[in-house]
Amino acid sequence: MILFVCSTIDDSSDREFILWIYEEFQRLMFSTARKYTEDQSSCEDIVQDSLVRLIDKVDTLREKKRCILASYIVSTVKNTSINYMRKQNVIHKHIVSYDADNFQEPASPDIHLGELVHKKDVGEKLLSVLQQLSETDQLLLEGKYILDYSDAELAVQLGCKASSIRMKLTRARRNALVLLSEQYWREEIVCD
């Protein structure tokens, strides 16, 4: 039995929502892309690719509060920009490879994860830490925890097997936690 359910009407609500997102955040999207490249043509391509990604996640986006939605859009453009620039071979020299051969286990974080969760300004500090991480780690952590990408989607972006994503994520998390605990440690020294 082939039953075609005409979704024209449902589709129009997706269209309305995506058009609203574009109208509301178009300048922010271009501004974010420009932080990665000043080439106008590349910026345009990045925003187009980002729109495609946002449409693919339209059901997820609907559930987000405005503040988190804005964060999702920024992370999408950042993520797309990094991937775009990688493809253009512009930033390869800055990319830290995560092949098993040259991987070094990060030092264990000094502060326990359970303590960090309760710290008041942890969001601010973690955001700053994310910017210090390698682009691969940023792709992994923002992709997994902000953009809700599956292991398979992350694997496509990084050009690796989906089965290796879990281990890469564990390492990326620990890299972030080491830097985060260092920030708190420095603050304690200053306070003392």
């Binding site: 024209t8 922010l28 925003v47």
Partner: protein, 252 residues
């Protein structure tokens, strides 16, 4: 990996997700502030050319997504229990046998729409009466001033023609017209009429179901002699404009 190591990774994952949520909230707050500043900055405007390109990207991707979703629904339905299929076939056989009965069935279902979420009807097996891919043209003779055609085209299998208009220079959702034509052998239509004003109007001898909710119109023309549905959705138009558009639609 031991069970304990497994649990530690799960714990780290959950705790880190909480930390990232905090980071996302901070990033979102900053993004909203930046967005507000950019909106007030005349120099950061987006060119009309780029807006057009973005809109085309959106339309193209939504269209692909719609086809993909329809394919998924079709796949799920194929797996429905045999009893449901049998009932559907029996229903289709009786109803499709007579175009008059087919329209009557639709009329019977209409009052029920006020009580339920959807109207649904279908005319499976019509494809057997018609060669596949045999599809006629659709044209729209009139749209209100200020509206332009943003996208149009046929589906890959040639069974749906689509027109999408939008008010010039607007991305607002309240200024759009969407018209689609599909052959009867596509199977069925679901139209949400819950809580809406519904009425029938006559357009060139064909019944058109007009559904109005909060100023938005959805309409469905059924031409049983040509096995055709015309679907229509608009925001921001008057009833008279909707009827005028419908009267200007031609299909052969």
């Amino acid at each position: 990996m031991t069970e304990k190591e497994e649990l530690i990774i799960q714990y780290e994952d959950a705790a880190f997700a909480l930390l990232m949520h905090e980071a996302a909230a901070v990033q979102g707050k900053r993004a909203l502030e930046e967005n507000k500043a950019l909106k007030q900055d005349d120099g950061s405007g987006i060119s009309a050319h780029l807006n057009r390109r973005s809109q085309q990207t959106i339309e193209r991707r939504l269209s692909q997504k719609q086809k993909k979703d329809a394919g998924r629904i079709s796949h799920i339905l194929k797996k429905l229990i045999p009893a449901v299929c049998l009932l559907a076939v029996l229903f289709s056989t009786v109803v499709v046998g007579s175009p008059t009965l087919w329209e009557q069935t639709f009329n019977v279902l209409l009052p029920e729409a006020e009580k339920s979420e959807t109207i649904q009807f279908g005319n499976k097996n019509r494809a057997e009466e018609k060669k596949p891919h045999e599809f006629e043209e659709l044209s729209v003779g009139w749209v209100p001033d200020g509206y332009r055609l943003v996208s149009s085209g046929k589906s890959d299998n040639g069974q749906v023609i689509d027109y999408y208009y939008q008010q010039t220079g607007k991305f607002a959702a309240n200024a759009s017209i969407h018209i689609s034509k599909m052959t009867g052998d596509m199977g069925g239509v679901v139209a949400d009429a819950n809580g809406a004003e519904t009425e029938y109007i006559d357009v060139n001898g064909n019944p058109v179901l007009l559904i109005e909710r909060s100023g938005a119109f959805k309409a469905l023309l059924t031409d049983s002699s040509r096995l055709t549905f015309i679907l229509f959705a608009s925001e921001g138009l008057s009833r008279e404009q909707v009827i005028k558009i419908f009267n200007s639609i031609r299909y052969s």
